[in-house]
């Protein structure tokens, strides 16, 4: 893990948090900005933004009864415009669990 002093969430990260919180009312929501990991990749040449790649881990009852693709589509839908915009989000890695699934993973470890 690189050394980082106090990290402030940028506007896109705040937006992601707001929209997911509002729609899914999660019991747990973690947003990790991974843009720096992709900055030097060929497809990212010429892109200025530091908010292009995120990893989101959300635990919410809202995911119950939904297939993984359906859960992911829902979140992608919340951020559709930001994902289409030229200087917007390039990648959104998602981990979506219900509280029951999250607990099961915990006890396994």
């Amino acid at each position: 893990m690189s050394s980082q002093s106090l990290r402030v969430a940028g506007p896109i990260e705040k937006l992601i948090e707001e929209r997911i919180s509002k729609e899914l009312v999660p019991t747990s929501l973690k947003i990790i900005n991974e843009s720096h990991m992709h900055r030097h990749h060929a497809p990212m040449q010429g892109v200025e933004s530091t908010e292009t790649h995120f990893r989101v881990k959300v635990v919410s009852e809202n995911s119950a009864g939904k297939s993984m693709i359906k859960r992911h589509r829902l979140i992608y839908g919340l951020l559709a415009n930001e994902m289409k915009a030229e200087n917007g989000i390039h990648a959104l890695a998602l981990e979506t669990k219900t509280p029951a699934e999250a607990e099961k993973t915990q006890t396994k470890q």
Binding site: P43, R73, Y76, A80, M83, A91
Partner: protein, 129 residues
């Protein structure tokens, strides 16, 4: 931001649609990705290829979306899914990198590949997670 930056492409071109359609229908397994199966150009695309190889799928048909911007945008509209890579099995969209990782961990991927005869179960038992 000027107005024209905000207008998303709404109509997939005929060229892109038929290219994608053919790829999806003519291949039991196809990965729309960045780069090629031999040389992936992005971590998520590489992860998908590695998972498939780990499961014993040797011949992976890939469509390099970096080669044609119409295909790169077209596949997102075609599937109604905003990111690349995208995996299709027997004409059906399976998911992107996250879904592949989770299916790998749950055993679903092995089941799917065996069911669709994309790997020989005898020579390819389920790999370690």
């Amino acid at each position: 931001m000027t107005a024209h930056h905000l207008v998303a492409r709404r109509f997939i071109s005929d060229h892109a649609k038929s290219l994608i359609d053919n790829a999806v229908k003519q291949n039991a397994l196809v990965v729309f990705m960045k780069g090629t199966p031999d040389e992936p150009m992005c971590g998520f695309s590489r992860a998908v290829i590695q998972i498939l190889q780990m499961h014993g799928v040797d011949e992976i048909t890939g469509v390099d979306c970096l080669q044609d911007p119409e295909v790169r945008e077209g596949i997102k509209e075609y599937t109604d899914w905003p990111t690349i890579p995208q995996v299709y099995v027997k004409g059906e969209f399976i998911g992107g990198c996250d879904v592949m990782v989770q299916m790998h961990q749950s055993g679903e991927l092995h089941e799917l590949l065996v069911k669709e005869k994309l790997l020989d179960e005898e020579t390819n038992p389920e790999p370690e997670k």
